[in-house]
């Protein structure tokens, strides 16, 4: 199934990976990317080389990806995704709010503790605009908690053209995922400043 899906995605979109700022290396990483379509997750999964795909877990929105038994099955059995409750995740993602109440990042922290890499969409929701929306705090919090994990920005190109909202049949259009140079939280860097810098790093990859 995994191979069939991969073949299908390559046939339709090419799913080309472009490694610009870093090589595809098997170290623990957090990939963070722009988010325009539910297919983003599928795309970045397909763009990673085989050996990284097995150790990298994408984040999937619980409400969407558990809608039907098929979606649920494909996210758990094929993508090995981590479900995140979007409604709760958005609320506590607001800047300034304390992490005292139950942490929506819990499943991500667990995965990182297990040594897995994760794929994160820090905008929280899909955007329709040219540029991604401001990033939510989750990325900063995870970076603080796991200073050893490498943060890799990524730009996913064209996916929204393959299958716009509300359509069922995908159209073959070449898509690419560009991976950039790793980022770090600088000593004493503010949350907002870091998130804006991370966002800028993702946007910058659009034009390379």
């Amino acid at each position: 199934m995994s191979l069939f899906l991969l073949g299908l995605i390559r046939f339709l979109t090419g799913a080309q990976a472009r490694w610009y700022g870093c090589p595809p290396k098997a170290e623990q990483r957090i990939y963070f990317a722009n988010h325009q379509s539910h297919a983003d997750l599928v795309m970045i999964w397909a763009a990673l080389p085989e050996e990284l795909r097995s150790i990298t877990r994408p984040i999937a929105a619980k409400d969407y990806w558990t809608q039907t038994p098929f979606k649920q099955w494909i996210t758990t059995a094929v993508f090995n995704a981590i479900y995140v409750d979007r409604v709760r995740g958005q609320r506590s993602g607001l800047p300034g709010e304390s992490a005292a109440e139950q942490d929506p990042l819990e499943p991500l922290i667990e995965a990182l503790n297990n040594g897995d890499s994760i794929i994160l969409f820090p905008e929280g929701t899909r955007g329709n605009a040219e540029e991604p929306q401001p990033f939510k705090a989750g990325l900063y919090n995870l970076a603080q908690k796991f200073p050893g994990v490498v943060l890799v920005p990524a730009w996913i190109n064209n996916v929204q053209r393959v299958m716009p909202k509300g359509e069922v049949v995908p159209v073959p259009i070449l898509c690419s995922v560009t991976f950039g140079a790793p980022l770090q939280v600088e000593a004493g860097e503010e949350r907002r400043a870091f998130l804006d810098r991370a966002r800028a790093a993702v946007i910058a990859l659009r034009d390379v």
């Binding site: 359509e167 073959p172 259009i173 070449l174």
Partner: protein, 331 residues
């Protein structure tokens, strides 16, 4: 002369097989030469860099040639149906490249689905079933109307003409043009049964030769370009040299075609003119999009180019060649 006698004594199948053997052998020799060339030390200066770039360009060309010859060989060995399917896949990838670099809007989605999953398969099915009357008008007549209807139903009038023109063009070049290559396999010349693969070879050979000779001549002559904003290399002298050389070779190949030498020469001229002009038109499209080639954006950075860059001349020459042959020989 003895060689010629020997070749004439072979059956049609053996002759085609021998042709592939010769082509594979030539490609192997060129490939070995390229490897040797790439091993040679080059300076780090600008000249060395230019040489390396040139080498990369020819390597790309060589890779496509290998791919095309393998496609032809597999197609020939496994029959006309499989060959047609293979060309259908090439069409699909070429159209994918074309659409990727022609921005579409949400309202075009259904039309795109129609183009890729309905028009393309039907066109190639018409080739396989040799419905030539419908095959030649299906896209220019029926699809020409169907695509804008679907787009209009999507209720988005913004840049409507422009968006539809793009789509029509993509289908016309990548599907309609390309589908005429396997259609050649199904032409029935009296006394030429089982040898139509030679006709495809003839077309591809003269068109590709014309493009390569034109490229090399342009490099040597370094004349003023005719349309510098579209192509910095196109000029009439090197164009004429390309067409003449390729057509002359085409005339020499008359023995493997159903044509007499004069006819072969004329057909080669037609194919070369159509192909090289089509290539120029595609260059204008690329310039309009601000790109140098049709490959994925990642590839254009590394200097290699897309599939459509390699086959565009063929896409334009195949329909013209096909119709000329059918009309002249009354098939």
């Amino acid at each position: 002369m003895g060689m010629n006698q020997f070749l004439r004594g072979l059956s049609a199948t053996q002759q085609v097989g021998a042709l592939f053997l010769i082509v594979f052998g030539l490609l192997a020799i060129v490939s070995v030469a390229m490897v040797v060339l790439s091993l040679r030390e080059r300076g780090d200066d600008a000249a060395g860099e230019a040489r390396r770039n040139e080498l990369r360009y020819y390597n790309g060309l060589l890779r496509t040639s290998w791919l095309m010859v393998v496609v032809f060989w597999v197609g020939w060995a496994s029959g006309e149906r499989v060959a047609t399917v293979l060309f259908g896949i090439v069409s699909f990838f070429a159209l994918r490249e074309f659409i990727t670099l022609s921005p579409t809007r949400r309202g075009d989605h259904r039309s795109l689905v129609l183009a890729f999953f309905v028009v393309l398969p039907i066109q190639y099915a018409l080739v396989v079933s040799a419905h030539f009357d419908l095959f030649t008008v299906f896209i220019p007549v029926y699809v020409f109307l169907a695509i804008p209807v679907v787009s209009a139903l999507a209720d988005d009038p913004q840049r409507f003409l422009e968006r539809n023109a793009k789509l029509q063009w993509g289908i016309m070049v990548c599907v309609y043009g390309m589908s005429h290559v396997p259609a050649l396999l199904l032409l029935r010349f009296p006394g030429y049964e089982g040898k139509t693969a030679f006709l495809v070879f003839f077309l591809v050979f003269v068109v590709q030769t014309c493009m390569i000779v034109q490229h090399l001549a342009g490099r040597k002559l370094a004349r003023e370009p005719v349309a510098p904003h579209v192509s910095r290399s196109f000029n009439w002298q090197s164009w004429a040299i390309g067409v003449l050389v390729a057509s002359f070779l085409g005339g020499l190949l008359a023995g493997i075609t159903p044509f007499k030498p004069g006819q072969a020469l004329a057909m080669a001229v037609i194919a070369c003119v159509a192909g090289s002009m089509g290539h120029l038109v595609m260059k204008a499209l690329k310039r309009d999009r601000g790109i140098t080639n049709w490959g994925g954006e990642g590839k254009s950075v590394t200097g290699a180019s897309g599939l459509l860059d390699r086959v565009d001349a063929l896409c334009f020459s195949a329909p013209v060649f096909f119709h000329s042959v059918r009309w002249y020989f009354g098939l």
